[in-house]
């Protein structure tokens, strides 16, 4: 399964690359406008691979992503349920005349 969560994408991969260190944070990606993408359960491995891939994520049964705008439900912080699996974490970029630039929000 592949997911898009605003300017963040989780792309399913078969296995984690070797030598990753788990990130002890529940913030997958800091929103430039102060609205972070967070999660409840799973393991996060932040590492800059290239301009798009900013890390890896191992979701477990029932893992939810949270964001103030992206997700489901009527709560202030919306929820997005994702399937158990291993994912590449990607950040959206704009392809501008000055080169690639992360989407700023």
């Amino acid at each position: 399964m592949n997911y898009r969560h605003g300017d963040l994408a989780l792309i399913a991969i078969k296995e984690l690359p070797q030598g990753l260190t788990e990130t002890k944070s529940k913030v997958i990606m800091i929103g430039s406008g102060g609205n972070d993408h967070t999660f409840d359960k799973g393991r996060l491995y932040l590492t800059i691979v290239n301009q798009f891939t900013i890390g890896y994520f191992e979701a477990v049964e029932g893992t939810k992503l949270f964001h103030i705008e992206h997700g489901e439900g009527s709560k202030k912080i919306k929820e997005a349920l994702i399937q158990k699996g291993i994912y590449e974490v990607r950040k959206q970029q704009e392809d501008t005349h000055e080169g690639m630039r992360p989407v700023i929000d």
Binding site: E69, H70, D95, H97
Partner: protein, 236 residues
């Protein structure tokens, strides 16, 4: 102050509960926590709010003098109320929007300016709310949320100002929302500018994401560094 004049805690007044709160807060002079008003509430006796004050309606708070925290004003409020609040609390943090009065927006202080919940510097805030930006200037805004809001506020006839403006592809996303790739030229640039115009499936907000691609799906997936053959199974 006698305890009977003090309300301990936060208060959130809405259109649904305002009558109940007006009764409960009758004669109350001080709210110790935050006060948020989203109705035409009238709190005649209230003099002090200990925490943050948020106003989203034409509230009447003529006696209110002191606010402990920041002031979020998202509507035109009574002249007396806003003048009194400013006079007594101008050293606090203020958060003003395009819905505030010109008088309040002309004040100088620790003020943050927002339109549709997106923050702008004062000069840009004024240009956006008064629709003083050209289409070229709107598309040149680096912040995608500011670009979105500026486009919302822009008279769409200005799109005709963009030379060689054309739609390269128009389709719908998996959620039935329209999406297109637009292109236009700007002086001094040999390569045309292209933007993927799409709608967020959750918020339904309209965005323009700069791209070099000519097709919608290709542009969308390329913005994540992905090939167009890869699909999102779910989007929020």
């Amino acid at each position: 102050m006698d305890k009977k004049y003090i309300y301990e805690g936060n208060v959130e007044i809405t259109e649904v509960n305002y009558q109940e709160w007006q009764k409960k807060l009758k004669g109350i002079k001080k709210i110790t926590g935050d006060l948020s008003i989203n109705s035409n509430a009238k709190l005649d006796a209230l003099k002090t709010v200990g925490g943050y004050l948020s106003i989203y309606s034409n509230a009447k708070l003529d006696a209110l003098k002191t606010v402990g925290g920041g002031l979020y004003i998202n509507s035109k409020i009574e002249k007396n109320t806003e003048e009194g609040l400013w006079k007594n609390n101008h050293n606090n943090e203020w958060y003003l929007t395009d819905k505030c009065s010109e008088w309040l927006l002309s004040q100088k202080g620790k003020i943050k300016y927002r339109i549709n919940n997106i923050q702008f510097e004062k000069e840009l805030f004024d240009k956006v709310r008064k629709d003083k930006l050209s289409a070229q200037e709107v598309f040149s805004l680096e912040n995608i949320e500011q670009r979105r809001v500026a486009y919302e506020k822009m008279d769409k006839l200005k799109m005709k100002e963009l030379s060689d403006y054309k739609i390269l592809e128009e389709t719908k996303d998996d959620y039935g929302n329209p999406m297109k790739v637009i292109e236009f030229s700007l002086p001094k640039y040999n390569i045309p500018f292209r933007y993927l115009n799409c709608i967020c499936p959750t918020t339904k907000r309209e965005y323009f994401v700069e791209t070099k691609k000519k097709e919608c799906i290709e542009a969308k997936m390329a913005s994540f560094g992905l090939d167009k053959t890869i699909k999102f199974d779910k989007e929020w």
